[in-house]
Amino acid sequence: MNAQRRERIIKRYDLEEQPRGTEPQERIQGLQVDSTLLPEWRLEHVDPVKRPEQPPGTRSLWSRGERGSEQVLSVEIWECDSSAAAREFLLEALDQFESPEVERATDARAVGDIAFAYHEHALLYARANLVVLIRNAGRELVPVTGPAREIDERLTGEQAEG
């Protein structure tokens, strides 16, 4: 992400530069994305994410209800080297939203260490060194806060074990 676009995002969301040495030191590694991540959903597929200039991660699609259901969730989880790297990557993720109405979540949607949301249907957050993006991918919309919290509970459990 070039410096100009990074600066735009920081100013747009009024994000203060986090002083070095104050970021959380915990690191979550080797998270397995399988059908137990969201027990009420059916895991359709999991792809490793190997994009240039991005941390490694996974992209999974989940459906609920009858086969061919229109309730579909997309969950992407990236594993960064550190919490500071996760915050940097979060800026890049924010830069992918065309809507100017994506806002910092400070209410019930405030999942993880820092979160951004578009209404009830898209949530982007960082927890330690991980960045999570959960969105609707099907025609029948579902709120994503609940699944996001389920995932975050799994992450904090992994964090505690680490």
């Binding site: 070039n2 100009q4 676009r5 735009r8 100013k11 747009r12 359709e44 597929h45 792809d47 190997k50 994009r51 240039p52 200039e53 991005q54 992209r59 699609l61 459906s63 579909v72 997309s74 830069d95 992918q96 939203f97 065309e98 809507s99 100017p100 109405e101 994506v102 578009y118 209404h119 249907h121 898209a122 993006l133 969105r135 609707n136 991918a137 099907g138 025609r139 919309l141």
Partner: protein, 410 residues
Amino acid sequence: MSVRLEAIKFNHDPSSATSDAFNIRRNATQFVSVPEWQHGVSVLPEDSPAAYAMKETRGHTITIQAQFRALDPGLGTVEIRAIDPTLIPKPWPFGWLLWPLLWILRYLLRLFFGNVLGEVRRRKVTFPPGGLTGIETFRLKNVAIQIAGVGVRTTTWRWQYRRSGGAWTDFETTQHRIYVVVETPKSPWNQAPYNSGNTQLPWTEVLDYACRWGLLARTADAAAAGVTRGVYNLGPAVITYDCPGGGSTHYSWGSFDCTRFLERLKGGVGLGLYVNCTDCATILSTFANALGADLWQSRMEPPGAPWSFGLNPMLGIGSAVWQPCCGWSGFSYHEVAWKGACTATEEVFDACLQVDGDADPTAPPHVPLLPVSLRFGPVGALLYRDRLATPAGRPHCEPNPASRQRRIVV
């Protein structure tokens, strides 16, 4: 039957595309091996694909290479050819008055369905004592690539041989999936290195759609226009704009997940229903560049505060409602397929939305206009920028040519 066709090579020179087919693969994981047609292996046309570029082959004689086996030990030297069985035979028994109609009918049939590779010109082939020839080069005749334009068609050949002074005898009928593009594909597609590890060789699974969307095009712009319409018309059934998700990128953050997008085109889940402008720009430019267009994916955005630009009413992909996209106050950025340096003087192609094409794009009535070869333009020129952004938003809708890229295909 005394002769058997063993193999045919269409892409017999990987370093060139002037007299033979250019380098292709099927998808991310499957290569197209040469010879493309093999006895006992190739049954359906799609088992034997080959792709040709109009520009590179213009003025050149196209050749194929083939290998034969004599089933009769005493065969010696014969003439071999392949004719087009789809042509209506001469003489036509209904008189000369209908001949012009017949000529038009044959032209149309060949254009849409026929042998763009014409026929295989006869030549002598000598069978050695073991019965298996070497790789023999044949010239094609009546090739219709330049007439037919972009498309994906089946070429059918009826192979025949004859002994000196004898009658022609059929020995094989082969069918081949032939793609015609305007020019050899542009980046992210490439022609080298030519090996199974190069995933950026043009994919036939992409050409299956691109050639249909760009059907009959003879220029890169016409091909890109067809692809723009083809992508936009995928909405709302296959893809639709990501209003629920704040207009986020689903298929093309970093690299373009073409594998999952093709899955979506074929009726699968893919990466879901939703796309944003980055996805549309990437899909459009990648598929159009497979036909020989030379487009980039590039952004327009405010250089500073305010952090968005206001939008005129539009029809987002998959939507039938004239409104600023999703009813938002504006876009924080927008991305399109763009020519050249991706500045205000270059043309854009936008498959993500239709703008209002009349004299006042800010208010009803609205005339749908899909941006195709539309110059971005300065403020006040009533070109792409003015049709996309409100009068107050136009100064903040600035090209950002530093963002131009061509995402690799995975």
